[in-house]
Amino acid sequence: MDLSFTAEERAFREELRDIFHTEIPERIRGKLRHGLHASRQDQVEAQRILNARGLAVPNWPVEWGGQDWSPVQHYIWQEELQLACVPHPLSFNCTMVGPVIAQFGSLAQKQRFLARAANLDDWWCQGFSEPNAGSDLASLRTTARRDGDDWVIDGQKTWTTLGQYADWIFVLARTDPAAKKQEGISFLLVDLTTPGITMRPIQTIDGGREVNEVFFDGVRVPGENLVGEVNRGWDYAKFLLGNERTGIARIGITKARVRRIRELAEQEWDGDRRLIDDPGFRRKLASLEVELKALEMTQLRVVAAERQLEKGKPNPMSSVLKIRGSELQQASTALMMDVMGPYVAPFFDEHEIEFGNEPPPGPADAATAAPQYFNMRKVSIYGGSNEIQRAILAKAVLGF
């Protein structure tokens, strides 16, 4: 057993850190550090810089632009990306649809979609959830009916993240209404400009627009846009969701937020002492750092175990990462609110924060503290809710 990083791994880390800091514009990284969102343009710009370096989709097969890295290298890549506040390569492209196409798609689909997805030439969004199919995703009702060579889609998707920016949507649709729940579902790639699709924004409680409802009314999709085999979509979706879960711990993002909390607490005065000198606050901060360290070591164990696991087989331990990772993301936003004190209250939308004549009142970053706290409630809901993760662990690990 050797629990330290090798010299090569440390050098690899330095190299990436350097690239992220020097090549991704501070204009973009600063936004994330201050709790603002990257715009569509920022996201595209950052991903293209990464992609030019082969750093957008290292998790893909090498022949499609991936890297032949060890699990530890992948881990370092993700952590450094997050610590540097680089917008993560769009997950819908890079950890969701890309790997599915690479693994199960036809050669024509790979040639048509993969390079464009890696470079964010196409922006993808995820059309899985429906109003009545959330945790129970397999009960989805959107249908795709064969008509000649085409598929015709009818139904509704919801919670479609950043659908307003997207060019394409990958959809789970029922293709065999007679089959058992999981067995009659297919995985389709749909051009969002196809007639019959309408999108309606849903405003989230932080005031942002990040999710949408998508309606399909007789949407005609060419047969070649079906991924893999008909009625095997559930298998592909499970493969995809397994990839989603490990990413969702976002330890690096929480670490970056905790660093920022420390920085801001050093600048914030409480009477004649700095907040960072308040023993009560220091204990809270230290306590969160301990919890984060424990999660980080757990993540490293999961990473190390990946070498032994059969390729593509999900590790139920990733549910531990998801539960704890989401809880700590939430806890860090709550601690950030503590730093701001009463200055969490003023509401300024992101445009005003960035371009207003005067900054919002209070400490730096005060205006994004409460919105982030509200918004981060989502991380224990999506990607398989924390209750569903517990159900997975109860079965897969404890054998109930």
């Binding site: 009545n132 959330g134 009477g271 509401f347 300024f348």
Partner: protein
Amino acid sequence: MDFDLSDDQRLLKDSVDRLMAETYGFEQRRAHMAQPDGWSRGSWAQFAELGLLGVTLPEAQGGFGGGLVEAMLVADAFGRSLVVEPYFAHAVLCAGLLRHAAEASVQDEMLPVLAAGESLFAFAHHERAARHCLSHVETTARLGEAGFVLEGRKSLVLHGDCADRLIVSARLSGGMRETNGIALFLVDAAATERRGYATQDGLRAAEITLDGVIAEVVLGLDAWPGLSRAVDEASAFLCAEAVGAMDALLALTVEYMKTRRQFGRAIGEFQVLQHRAVDMQVQLELARSMALYATMMAADPDEETRSRAISAARVQIGRSLRHVSEEAIQLHGGIGMTMEYRAGHYLKRLAMIEKSFGDTEAHLDRLAAMGTAW
């Protein structure tokens, strides 16, 4: 001890509940917020008509003649409906300040005006470096030829953007956080410079600059005792408001769990989720008890006894509201994350209550410093 309401109190509660049912549904609230001030002058007039603006004021001064129990009933109802009018700033904070810090002659003049709701009052007290310290006042007052001249910046002044009159705290003497040397003045809001904005929970506030403003009226030159009492009473109000909000939110959550179906059954049938709702109920009950306790103790003239009780209540309420509101969103799933649904609005209001007039940690610090003994 008697936990039952009197007939008059019941009548008050019924009439407030009825008003809320008729005028403060979710869509109606949205319409109130879309008005130019960010709240409804129409609702304001209805509050005045029902006597709610002067609910704790004596009848002789145009009030309803109630006490803190009556205020608690209003708070509970307003918490359920997420009222956005400047009730707390005007009818709770400023009414309390006038009652406890102003001379009788000033009270006789101002309280009827306040109870009628004709002129809108706001409390300009907080300053940038105060954090949770109530006695932090850097704004200065100095006696000039035309009266007291005020110099300083006030921050997070709830409803300061549309107030007609401001009750301003300023320092006559003493260090930045000393309780001695704080005075209260009445100022014409139009004489100040204001930057208004919305708050996360849909209320309004302002940053206010006092640049040589002359006070209209001196409320009190040794104002700390009255100020701290008024703010403790206001804290009791916030506790009751939080309980109203939590109660409504829990009911909403339970109802949702009984109707939302996944995996072929109502999610409320999953025992693991039932237990989660029960834990919310436990937190709510503790909060309810402590809100009552706060109401009971808020009138205690002994500052230490009173503030110990208020801080204890605020600690429990702070913990309960965090638990109840976060769990409510979780148990709703995605729908709880949207503006279109009530639950998230409770989360936001409750989170802001936690940060008003001392957060949970600050109240715990206050208790720890006192060496709690009941």
